[in-house]
Each structure stands twice: as structure tokens, then as C-alpha cells.
Amino acid sequence: MKFTLKVWRQDGPEAKGRFETYEANNISDEMSFLEVLDVVNEDLIHAGQVPIHFDHDCREGICGSCGMMINGQAHGPQRGTATCQLHMRKFQDGATIVVEPWRAASFPIVRDLVVNRSAFDRIIEAGGFVSVNTGSAVEANTLPVPKQVADAAMDAAQCIGCGACVAACPNGAAQLFTSAKLQHLNLLPQGQAERWERTENMVETMEEYFGTCTNHGECETACPKNISIDFIAYMNRDYIKAKSLNRKLAGQGLE
């Protein structure tokens, strides 16, 4: 297969960027999108030019670093797939493919397709953890968790923090990421002790860095882990509760 790539090149955070056009020849339909960038970079390096910078690590859809906008869609055209697992058979031979970095005030471009996603870390630091000494694992039956709850928590826990939800959102909102990181803990017994502080702090930190949700639903279609906007609804409900509860009674579900 053959492709023409139009790739965003930007030499640094403050530099002015531009699209540059590259030809990628001899591409197998089994290659991933990142491998095509590797092929183009080989050529660039041989020609003594600066290769295209892009973030990547696991190349198996679990680290969340490989995000980029491909033909106007986050992680490209295939649903529920990170760029590293997007195969070239999804594209027409001879097609022109436009590649751009995520765009958001809180995802500043480091270089070319690489953005700084550390605003996500600020949200996690605000409460995306359970701060109890759990010791060794307790006997499973001491903490009964209904199957549906465990499934929902696992669905939320799949978030890999790639930023596609923010990138795809017309409002640059981080609700899908935040709600996933919130609800995988809020749904489970171990997450209850800090549930209301966590909700308040993570939501309010999210609003320091990102836009806010108007329920377009675009994030859900961009998410490589198919996180559902149901979690955003749960987060909204938990937030209003967090602001209104008598927390003195919140320990045993007495609220």
C-alpha cells in the first residue's frame, strides 16, 4: 500500500507549526499506524532530517501515550482502538491521511505530535487513589461486591489516560477521563471512605484545567477503551451529593 501523510510539524511549544507532506511507500496492510510513522522516520533520518516526534510506549493499547488526531478523529477511524493498534487495512490504498496533535490549552504541544498531558496527573493527585493501608489481600468473601458493580468498576478502570476524550470534545472537556478515574473507586467498597472528598476535589481540579461538558457524547466515540458517558452521569450525581451531604453521617450510607 501507499499513502500520502500530511503531518503537523512544530519545533517546540512556542514555535509556529505547519503541515508537511510525506510519502509512505511499501506499506503492508498489517502495519499499525505507528509503524507507518516509523517507516517515514527511517527515510527522514537517512536523509539527515529531523524525524517526526510522537509519543508511544506499549504499542498494545494499554499505556495511553500514542494519541493523535487522524483525519479529524482522535486515534483515527476505528472505534475502541488506540493509534498503536490501528491497522492500515482500515485505510484506502493511496489515500491522503492528515495527522495532527491533540489541541487543548492544557495539553500544550511539546513537539510535533507530542503533547504534555500532565494536567491529567493534577486531577489524579486530587483524589484518584485510595489512601488506606490495605495490607495483604483480605479473604474475598469479606467484601461482597455485586457482579454488576464489579463489572462497571472494571469498565471505568480501563481508562488509559490517553486524552482522546479531551481532544475529541468540542468543548475540550475532561469529563470522561475524570468520571472514569472517579467512578472505578467510587463504585467499590474500598473507595467509600474518601468518596465525597474525592469527588469534590477531582471535579474542581478538572475545572481548573479543562472545559466543561455539554453532553455532545463525542468523547465516548473517540475513547480507545469505550468508556461510557454513563460514568459522567454518575459523576454529576456524586458531585451534587458531595456538595450537599452531611458528611458526618456519610460513613455507613446513612446520608
Binding site: 488526531m69 471535579v203 453532553n215
Partner: protein, 251 residues
Amino acid sequence: MAQATPRSTVEAAVRPIRKRPKPLPWPLSLYQTYVGKKWVMAITGVIGLLFVAGHMFGNIKMYMGEQEFLHYAEGLRTVAYPIVPEKFLLWVARLGLLGALVLHLHAAFSIWNHNRKVRPVGYQSRRDYIAADWASRTMLWTGPIILLFIAFHLADLTWGVEAVNPDFQSGEVYQNVVASFSRWPVATIYIVANVALGIHIYHGAWSLFQSLGVNNPQINQGRRIFAALFALAIVAGNVSFPLAVLLGIVE
């Protein structure tokens, strides 16, 4: 081999775009964040939905003739009378609706004002949206159209402003409607505005469930259907009135 990649010297620093607010006492604290504002927006949106539904349903009385319609208008002024003074509940409803409208507009403005800051450099290539539909992306257009329409509608049939409705006679509710809708430019304004309202409701009446956190696999399928039927009923009812006058069905 020489290092092919000159490193950039400027750090891509991440700075907050908004300060976290100092908490005000409850319930004002609910309105300090955008998640809270969206909740207020949904509650005030529900008030608006109840109003437009009641308003449309009441106006169907015009198909039952002038007497019935006048009687209905009279009834609105005397709800719960003589327990409360005449027009008392009418004014309670009016003030409540005004309050809801002001909050709804303020929340919409404030969300818009925040969201326009979060992507200072937009996408340089064409975006390809999957889920964000026409209705959800035009809320900020259909909303102001509705606002202008509310002003026009009050001037036309509530206050009877000379420039808008020269034939207006206080108390002659039925004749005022007929006189107004007989003018095709006025009828057109009503039809266009109500289509805009229908589009606004199509997104809003679905979106409010998410904003309020009403999400349950048992009803999630039904939320879209509810929003579509609600919007359809409001548009069909409200558009039928000017058409009925223009076609001579109501005269």
C-alpha cells in the same frame, strides 16, 4: 551518529485556566462550578419544559371556539381564587419562570465563556464529528433565537405593543391571536422560532438526564425517544396554531 534531534529549550508548561473557587455557603456553592451550573441549567430547563408543554396544551383550546378559549384565559387568572387573591398564582408562576430563565441564561453564558478559553489554537485540519449532532452543536444559536422570540411573543400577545400588534385589545385573547397570526410575517416568526425551540428541546430534554445524573440501563434507551417525542409534540402543537389561522380553520 550525530544527534539528529535538536531539543527544544522551552518547557511546554501546563497552567490552570481557572482558579478553584473559595466555597460559598450552600446552596450557592452548587453554582460555583460548571458541573453545578449544568445541574441548575437542567433543573431550570425542566421548568421550561413543563411550561412549554402546559402552554401548548392550554392553547389547543382555541380549536374549541372563542368562548372556551376566553374561559381558559380567565381560568388562568383565577387559579385557587378565592383562597388566594385573583392573579396571585399567575404572578407566582410568572416570577418563577423569569427566575428560571435568568438562571438558565446565566449558566449558559458562563459555560460558553469558560469553554471558549480551553482551545486557544483550534484544529488546523477538518474535524470529523461522530456523535456531536446538529442539535447539540447549535444550542447556543437556538437558545438566543428562543430568547428573542420570548420578547417578541410577550410584546405581541401579552403587552400588545402598538408596533408589533396594532389590533391588540386587552382581554380579547382569541381575537388578538387571530389578528396577529393573520399577518404572514408574524406567523412565519412563530413557526421559525418554534422549530428552533424543538431543536433546542431535542438535545436539552435528553441532555438534562445526564446533567442530573439520571442514568439507569432500564431507561437509557427511552431518554432519546422521550426527547424526540417531546420536541415533536411541542413543535407540532405550536406550529399548528399560526397555520390554522392562516388556513382559516381558526377565525
